[in-house]
């Protein structure tokens, strides 16, 4: 019964999306005062409620493990802990698509409910675009991926969930990315709305900005969490593999970062109008493209998604419809949008434009590298593009971008000269140059880590310079956001460079009682013993790890065997010290009484994820600051309007 309610709610929501699309389009033709136009906003709000009901129904059938529902039988198991039963609801294709439309419909309801700054025509066009995008996903769900499908014969037991996915980090990882993707779909709808009415104004940028910021925060968190998950769960010791699926999350982030900064220029200075619209379309395209690459199985990836060429075709069709449509609209309309305010090269806008160009170049590098195998396969050549391409080629654009990032926030809007900030420039330059000499002398490092460390330190210093000479308590919240986000980039960069420059790895075969050294750690294998969990058994290697002359720490990495479905995973153990992490992986039997161990010492590796969190925190502060300002502006406008009415009456 609950499953049927969920399905019915989903159909009704789809019907409302049709109404939202029609209402918006008719309003554009017949004027915003028609009866139909009045229906667009309520349709969006009601749709959000219905989809929420549908998603709640899915959570419910997973919570009670209703094995007559096909999706539950395929992906869940009565023995699983409740939290993983619930996360199983979106740990599969159908459920994750339902989560996608849920977030999308709730976002639509929110804009329909509160957004009143833009001209009503632009709003109608935006909501129509939103309804149109949502409609495609409803069609996808209802016609080819019904999550509520019943089995003729209820299953006796579920087929479990991929044991790699039984992890709290992963339970939260896909929803986080989805919030990001969907936030970008809202920015996309705004861009389409503005293209339709050709009204690209600072007010438009201000309406769009919270959504970009929100999406950007979630994408940052999603990428950070996903990278940490890959780091400790896969047991390979790496945090980023340039895998197509990872790139699929990085590309929207790069586009969103560029969009965020260009929307800022548009909001403050009424410049970069067409470019901001383009980025709004590109950012969502990258989300859709990512979804397509992941779900169609068109590229080989370490991520095991349910791959299905038919679904791939469906998403490709949606991609053609939305992105092709938006780009067509862009080609037809963008020429009619005037350029906006001008500015000189040495200005805040100038720096932001350089930053945008660099980010777009990095995006192009990642996009090319990701799609290149697709291109060569058409000519029957198999290639795999990895770090030897991405790292150096990306670096060509990353380091100039970091340099601009250090200097840009010090410049004034519109017109400025470098003469005004010579002291600051000299300081950043000195730190930047002394770094390589110092590190090269001390450690004899490779070029990329060396540049990375120097730029990280210089940027860390530079990121606080915008606060110089200001009363800290009077600095606006969003400026703090910028400072912290930029500082976060420096912190993460320091972690990456340090990881690649100073990591040590040790592969050892030890007897019980044997000892080995890795970096400053000495690790002794005490005993190997079997351990049993709720749905797995494991071999645990009990070890004592000692950092220099410190207290020994007991650790026990495991090699786990799950039985539903049968699969082997490694449970690595991390021991964190302020200056890095010991990473221990239990291997298999070496057949001669010894056990294989894999150990790493990774100095400052944790800074990568702390940096990610700082970047996200910066985004949150910027969002809070912007929303506060918007509310204030709204209050002031309302008061002014009331005064005018009072005066007219009075």
């Amino acid at each position: 019964m609950i499953a049927e309610i969920g399905l019915a709610a989903l159909w009704l929501a789809a019907a409302l999306a049709v109404l939202q699309l029609l209402g918006g389009v008719l309003a554009l033709r017949g004027g915003t005062t028609s009866d139909i136009a009045a229906l667009t906003r309520p349709a969006a709000i009601l749709q959000g409620g219905l989809v929420a009901v549908s998603f709640a129904a899915l959570l419910y059938v997973f919570a009670i493990t209703d094995l007559s529902v096909k999706l539950v039988a395929m992906n869940s198991h009565t023995l699983k802990p409740l939290i993983f039963k619930l996360s199983g609801a979106w740990g599969n294709h159908e459920g994750s698509m339902l989560l996608w439309v849920t977030v999308m419909a709730l976002a639509g309801a929110l804009i329909a409910g509160i957004e009143r700054r833009l001209p009503e025509k632009t709003m109608q066009a935006t909501l129509a675009a939103q309804g149109f995008v949502a409609l495609g996903f409803y069609a996808f769900l209802l016609l080819s991926s019904n999550p509520f499908e019943r089995l003729a014969q209820p299953a006796a037991e579920g087929l479990g969930l991929n044991p790699l996915l039984q992890d709290i980090g992963l339970a939260l990882h896909p929803p986080t990315l989805y919030f990001g993707y969907v936030g970008l779909s809202v920015a996309f709808s705004f861009a389409v709305g503005a293209l339709v009415t050709k009204q690209v104004t600072p007010a438009f940028a201000r309406a769009m900005r919270p959504w970009i910021l929100g999406a950007w925060v979630f994408l940052t968190l999603g990428i950070t969490a996903g990278s940490y998950w890959a780091y400790y769960e896969l047991g390979w010791g790496g945090y980023w593999f340039w895998d197509p699926v990872e790139n699929a999350s990085l590309m929207p982030w790069l586009a969103a970062t560029a969009l965020l900064h260009s929307a800022s220029v548009l909001a403050s200075r009424d410049a970069l109008r067409v470019w901001t619209i383009m980025l709004g379309v590109v950012a969502f395209s990258m989300s859709m493209l990512g979804t397509f690459l992941v779900r169609s199985g068109i590229l080989t990836s370490v991520h095991a998604f349910a791959v299905d060429p038919e679904r791939g075709s469906f998403i490709l069709f949606l991609l053609a419809l939305y992105i092709g449509g938006a780009l067509l609209l862009f080609a037809l309309r963008a020429g009619a949008i005037s350029e906006g305010e001008r500015f000189s090269v040495a200005s805040r806008e100038g720096a932001l434009v350089v930053n945008n160009v660099m980010l777009s170049a990095i995006l192009a590098v990642v996009l090319l590298g990701t799609l290149y195998p697709l291109l060569t396969e058409a000519f029957d050549v198999r290639v795999s593009v990895g770090p030897p391409y991405f790292n150096p080629v990306g670096a060509v654009f990353t380091f100039p971008m970091l340099a601009v990032m250090a200097v840009g926030p010090l410049l004034r809007w519109r017109k400025d000269g470098f003469g005004r900030i010579t002291k600051e420039l000299a300081l950043v330059g000195a730190v930047l140059l002394s770094g390589p000499i110092l590190f090269a002398l001390l450690f004899g490092m490779a070029i990329l880590p060396l540049l990375g460390l120097s730029f990280a330190i210089a940027l860390a210093v530079a990121s606080f310079l915008p606060l110089k000479g200001r009363k800290l308590r009077r600095v606006p919240v969003e400026t703090w956001g910028m400072v912290i986000a930029h500082f976060g980039i420096a912190v993460a960069l320091f972690g990456m460079a340090s990881e690649s420059a100073f990591s040590t790895e040790k592969l050892a075969a030890l007897e019980e009682g044997g000892t080995t050294q890795v970096g400053p750690w000495s690790v002794q294998l005490q005993k190997v013993e079997p351990v049993a969990g709720p749905n797995w058994t494991a071999l645990a290697g009990r070890m004592t790890a000692t950092y220099r002359d410190g207290e020994p720490v007991e650790i026990a990495p495991q090699s786990r065997n799950f039985w539903a479905p049968p699969q082997q995973t490694t449970e690595s153990v991390l021991v964190t010290r302020w200056n890095g992490q010991l990473y221990a992986v239990m291997g298999s039997d070496a057949n001669d009484g010894r056990w294989q161990l894999r150990l790493w010492w990774k100095p400052f590796v944790t800074l990568i994820w702390y940096g990610g969190l700082l970047i996200a925190l910066g985004g949150v502060l910027a969002l809070v600051g912007r929303v506060q300002k918007d509310l204030k502006r709204r209050y002031v406008t309302r008061r002014a309007a009331e005064r005018r009415v009072d005066m007219e009456n009075g």
């Binding site: 383009m278 379309v281 590109v282 395209s285 397509f292 169609s296 199985g297 068109i298 080989t300 060429p309 791939g312 075709s313 490709l316 991609l319 053609a320 992105i323 092709g324 780009l327 067509l328 862009f330 080609a331 037809l332 963008a334 020429g335 799609l371 697709l374 291109l375 396969e377 058409a378 198999r382």
Partner: protein, 175 residues
């Protein structure tokens, strides 16, 4: 209207065409060895059974083309291809085996149950030779010409329809 505004649209449609084409193609996950056309890497493997000698890479450079069969007693498709290997042997092919991660007792039991088409079998306990010649699974069969050059790779078990192909490749390698 500027042509530059159409650029994103056109690039996007280029991508769409490519993606649609690739989706319509059957997905081929086989990974071909990059060693085809190159000389066998140098190796010496101990015997994998008590009654046949082991394998030395120099043995292949005696002027006569041979088949190099990568297999294992624990591999089910290897049982399926056993009759085809027998047939190849009857047609005059010399087949050298490399047993992957195997034990002599298991190898001998397999040969007594499914027949022995091999003249030599080497024991590759760590898959070193297998990886060295670019094989990613069992069974796989390579054609090696009389100078020790790998000329052809067959991935998966040999089906009856593959037998003439392999014989033809052997003939070509002998020229």
């Amino acid at each position: 209207m500027s042509w530059r505004l159409w650029l994103p649209f056109m690039v996007f449609f280029g991508f769409l065409g490519l993606a649609a084409y690739q989706l319509s193609q059957p997905k081929d996950d086989e990974i071909r060895s990059a060693m085809v056309g190159k000389e066998l890497p140098y190796f010496t493997l101990p015997p994998a059974s008590l009654d046949l000698p082991g394998v030395d890479s120099r043995y292949f450079a005696d002027g006569k083309p041979k088949l190099l069969n990568i297999w294992a007693s624990w591999c089910l498709p290897c049982i399926a291809e056993a009759p085809q290997l027998e047939q190849l042997k009857e047609e005059g092919a010399e087949i050298v085996g490399v047993a992957i991660r195997d034990k002599p007792t298991d190898v001998m039991r397999f040969l007594s149950q499914h027949g022995n088409p091999y003249t030599r079998i080497g024991r590759d306990d760590l898959s070193e030779v297998q990886l060295g010649i670019g094989s990613s699974g069992v069974p796989e069969t390579f054609v090696i010409d009389g100078n020790g050059i790998i000329t052809y790779q067959h991935i998966g078990d040999i089906r009856p329809e593959n037998v003439p192909v392999l014989l033809e490749e052997l003939r070509k390698a002998g020229q």
